[in-house]
């Protein structure tokens, strides 16, 4: 059972990661803020609580793997990797710049800690299945964690991989669906209704759970119960708020991609710093 103090620290880290994201947006003047902020609590929990990884040895053989199938949320991953010490935070200031190690979608050859070149949607889960199969074949205990977006679920290739994971009983595979309910054109359920997401995964043979994906206690409780069922891959449908933590952008589809004014950046910075102080004061 995780302590209240540990949860408080994870919440603090998540806010620091949000601050890292704002630093990147300042550099590039734009970025996929909506999905980045909806998923960042999950990534924080994975990197700072669950995953067996070594920032000094990113390619460690027995590491757990993380794949961001929704590669456009990469600012969340960069923020978390930087906070964890995989690379110097000065590189956050290169986001969007020529030859940056931090491109707008992740590149495994440029940055330690990136396991796959995602960005085209619907690719991550197949790659993750291959990783999970290979690791299991070698008798490794490593797990493979994937964050997908609800908006990418209509890609048919996802469901090929969903079938593979169930067919091969990949209980070393864990998927978070960052279900923020919005995509560029509006509400995901209006654009292409893929609900009930949990039932679809379950129908293929996955074990599933619904959580509030911006609630650290719920994320940690879910992670502590993996695999939900032995012999089954796990799908956690994380109900989140798009642009969570950006008061004027929360729950708005137009904040999928954000080109902020200087005023907006200032407000965002201030809000995050206030939350960081609040959490620190609770020590």
């Amino acid at each position: 059972m995780v302590s209240g103090e540990e949860i408080r620290k994870l919440k603090l880290t998540a806010e620091k990661c949000r601050a890292n994201v704002i630093r990147m947006v300042k550099s590039s003047k734009h970025g996929h803020i909506g999905g980045t902020f909806s998923a960042i609590d999950i990534l924080t929990a994975l990197y700072f609580y669950t995953m067996k990884i070594d920032p000094q040895n990113a390619g460690m053989e027995d590491r757990d793997r993380f794949l961001l199938s929704a590669g456009h949320k990469c600012m969340a991953q960069y923020a978390v990797l930087a906070e964890k010490g995989f690379f110097d935070k000065k590189y956050l200031d290169t986001y969007g710049k020529l030859h940056s190690k931090l491109p707008g979608h992740p590149d495994m050859h440029k940055l330690p800690g990136i396991e796959a070149n995602t960005g085209a949607l619907g690719h991550g889960l197949s790659i993750a299945c291959g990783m999970a199969l290979g690791l299991r074949a070698d008798g490794k205990k490593s797990k493979v964690y994937v964050v997908m977006g609800d908006g990418e679920l209509p890609e048919g290739s996802n469901w090929e991989a969903v079938a593979v994971a169930a067919n091969y009983h990949l209980d070393n595979l864990v998927v978070f669906v960052d279900n923020n309910g919005l995509q560029i054109s509006g509400k995901t359920e209006d654009v292409m209704n893929m609900s009930p997401i949990d039932e679809h995964f379950k129908g293929f043979g996955w074990a599933t759970k619904n959580i509030d994906g911006n609630n650290m206690e719920e994320i940690i409780t879910a992670l502590d119960s993996i695999p939900l069922e032995k012999g089954k891959p796990t799908a956690i449908v994380a109900h989140t708020i798009k642009a969570k933590g950006l008061s004027f952008g929360e729950g708005k589809a137009e904040f999928h991609y954000w080109s902020p004014s200087e005023n907006e950046i200032e407000i965002a910075d201030k809000e995050i710093q206030e939350r960081i102080l609040n959490i620190q004061n609770k020590e």
Binding site: R65, M108, H109, E115, A116, N117, G119, A120, H123, L125, S126, I127, A128, C129, G130, M131, A132, L133, G134, L135, A137, D138, G156, S157, E160, A161, A163, V164, Y168
Partner: protein, 316 residues
């Protein structure tokens, strides 16, 4: 003496299986395609290294990428269009961009599935796969070369696309080690160079002999690596014979002929005639009928080379 003929798929499957006895990293992926790809023995010898996925080519390419990240050497063989044009983005991103050590083999390539129609033909696979940076494209030309190309493909670190046919093919050469990126002069000549790859090389050699009898001295080059092309061999041929004919079971655009033309136009411009299929959905019939119809058998190649030589007599 009549040449011996072998099934290219069986030769391929046998070669992978033999290598797998020594190399436990090799795994085989099947999209309901393993048995027809010559993996009957592999699946029984190595059941733990044989993964069946059902009809799922896009997913399988992604899974292969993931397996390769764990050190495996995945080999995935199915009908050529289904492992090239269908999962193209997975090939490009998950194998090419990620530079994963995966071997994709398109069988029944070209129009060897002649009567099954254009959905089952692959006349653009060279063109599309060679545009993915860092991917090697191979088209071995006879049974022994398939075996040795498989060995080179497995030893090569990085993504490879190999194309093989379906009908039995004759033994053309003495077996020798396969070097990726190298072509070979199969017949010497001075008037014109005929460059072939994969399934058309047997007919190209036959055409070469027929042309000699008609007084045309033909240099025949076998080019089992389409990408990276052996540019040095092409330039030397251009210098030596002053004109080049290419032949391939592929659209005349985008494949070997285009690659040869690119090299010549940049480095030693000479007339290049590209033999292949015009950019249409190829008609159906027996394999031999299609080769005849598109002028890709020995008779058709001979006629095209003769016409080309006459139109491009070297000015002295």
């Amino acid at each position: 003496m009549l040449a011996e003929y072998f099934d290219p798929r069986k030769e391929f499957g046998k070669a992978v299986t033999e290598l797998a006895k020594e190399n436990d990293k090799i795994v085989v992926l099947s999209a309901d395609s393993g048995k027809s790809s010559g993996f009957g023995d592999f699946m029984h010898l190595f059941p733990d290294r044989y993964y069946e996925f059902g009809i799922m080519e896009q997913g399988v390419v992604g899974v292969a990428s993931g397996l390769a990240t764990t050190g495996k050497i995945p080999v995935f063989c199915a009908i050529a269009p289904f492992v090239t044009s269908r999962p193209f983005e997975m090939f490009r991103n998950d194998l090419g961009y990620m530079q994963q050590n995966v071997k994709i083999v398109g069988r029944n390539s070209g129009f060897t599935y002649s009567d099954l129609g254009a959905t089952h033909h692959s006349l653009e696979d060279f063109a599309i796969i060679r545009m993915i940076p860092g991917v090697v494209v191979l088209a071995p030309q006879d049974p022994g070369e398939i075996k040795n190309a498989v060995k080179a493909m497995i030893e090569h670190k990085g993504p490879v696309y190999m194309r093989i046919g379906n009908p039995k093919i004759p033994v053309l050469f003495e077996e020798q080690d396969f070097e990726i990126g190298k072509g070979k002069i199969l017949q010497d000549g001075t008037d014109v160079t005929l460059i072939s790859t994969g399934s058309t090389t047997a007919a190209a050699l036959e055409a070469g002999k027929a042309l000699e009898k008609q007084g045309v001295s033909v240099q025949v080059i076998g080019m089992p690596t389409v990408c990276p092309l052996d540019a040095e061999l092409v330039i030397n041929a251009a210098k030596k014979t002053g004109k080049i004919v290419t032949v391939e079971e592929h659209y005349m655009d985008g494949g070997l002929g285009t690659l040869v033309s690119e090299v010549c136009s940049q480095q030693y411009p000479v007339p290049v005639k590209r033999l292949g299929v015009p950019k249409v959905y190829a008609t159906t019939g027996s394999y031999d009928e299609l080769l005849e119809y598109y002028g890709l058998n020995a008779k058709g190649i001979t006629k095209s080379v003769l016409d080309f030589v006459q139109k491009n007599k070297r000015s002295v």
